[in-house]
């Protein structure tokens, strides 16, 4: 299974993501620099990591979403290649328009950095097949701009189509309907604020994040 991690100036979870992918999948991901315009051929999974791409200038993820490599990511996503965006990666994905809505400053203006219990809403996706629907998992969050907003019609559509993958068990940042992770219509693009790559082995305090990558290995790598 060939994976790629996109690296922007200001990314800071790219190495965590690479370690997580290698640990579960057994092969090192290609680290792809933002100025490149091509992804590795036959890539099976693209991860956009957390951090502060381009210093969060203009809006979080705004500049990254217009970088050469992200144009290639959008094309790959439209062909059906699975794309996982975590934290800043989620912000990049909404800025590209691959995912609906926007991520605004946390409602209480605080940087939220802690473990967050998440409810798995949809366990029938390439990303969530190792979870049970309705299960509560523990995954850390670390963000200042994770307050998910979309208009009511969009939120209703996301809920109706099973595109809310994860929901915070309790409100942490003001997100509409406590949404923590959303899928695109085809189900091959997931954006989430919590960091599954930070819960890969017992020494991290748990392995709930590892199961997301194990699910991808099973569904995408097969």
């Amino acid at each position: 299974m060939k994976t790629a991690v996109i690296v922007f100036p200001g990314s800071n979870c790219d190495r965590d993501m690479a370690v997580a992918l290698e640990s579960v999948i057994g092969a090192k991901p290609a680290m792809v620099w933002h100025g490149d315009s091509e992804l590795p051929a036959d890539v099976d999974l693209i991860a956009i990591p957390g951090g502060f791409s381009y210093g969060d200038y203009l809006r979080c993820g705004a500049i990254a979403a217009r970088s050469p490599i992200v144009r290639a990511v959008v094309e790959a996503a439209e062909r059906g290649v699975p794309v996982l965006g975590v934290c800043n990666g989620f912000q990049v994905l909404v800025e590209t328009g691959l995912l609906p809505g926007a991520l605004m400053r946390n409602e209480r203006l605080d940087f939220v950095c802690r473990d967050a219990p998440l409810k798995v809403e949809n366990a029938q996706t390439a990303f969530t097949s190792r979870y049970e629907a309705g299960e509560t998992i523990m995954v850390p969050v670390a963000h200042h701009d994770g307050n998910y907003v979309a208009d009511e019609a969009t939120l209703d559509r996301l809920e109706g189509e099973g595109r809310v993958a994860f929901r915070y068990a309790a409100d942490i940042n003001g997100s509409a309907r406590r949404i923590a992770g959303v899928l695109n219509g085809a189900g091959n693009v997931l954006g989430m604020m919590p960091h599954p790559e930070r819960r890969i082995e017992a020494a991290h305090g748990g392995t709930d994040g590892r199961r997301l990558f194990e699910g991808l290995l099973e569904t995408v790598g097969a």
Binding site: L58, R59, A62, R66, V94, E95, P100, G101, A102, M104, R105, N106, E107, R108, L109, N147, V149, A150, G174
Partner: protein
């Protein structure tokens, strides 16, 4: 040609920063401060023959996120 693009949150989009500033102003003793909304101003120096369509496209494609923001262009 100098342009000033004013980007504001759409009505109805909660502005936590604006609300914090409103509370701080009230705390400083300024009575009667109602809603506060924080936006941003982008000043651009563009070629004189830049047409309106191109300017509008710059706003829609990058300067504003039209999911949550409105924009207006002023010629300085």
């Amino acid at each position: 040609m100098k342009l000033r693009v004013v980007v504001n949150l759409k009505p109805g989009v909660l502005d936590p920063q604006g609300r914090a500033v409103q509370k701080a102003l009230t705390g400083l003793g300024f009575a009667g401060v109602g809603d506060v909304r924080i936006g941003k101003v982008v000043e651009l120096d563009v070629a004189d023959d830049t047409d309106d369509a191109a300017i509008d496209e710059m706003c829609r494609k990058l300067l504003a996120n039209t999911v949550i923001e409105n924009y207006r262009v002023e010629r300085v």
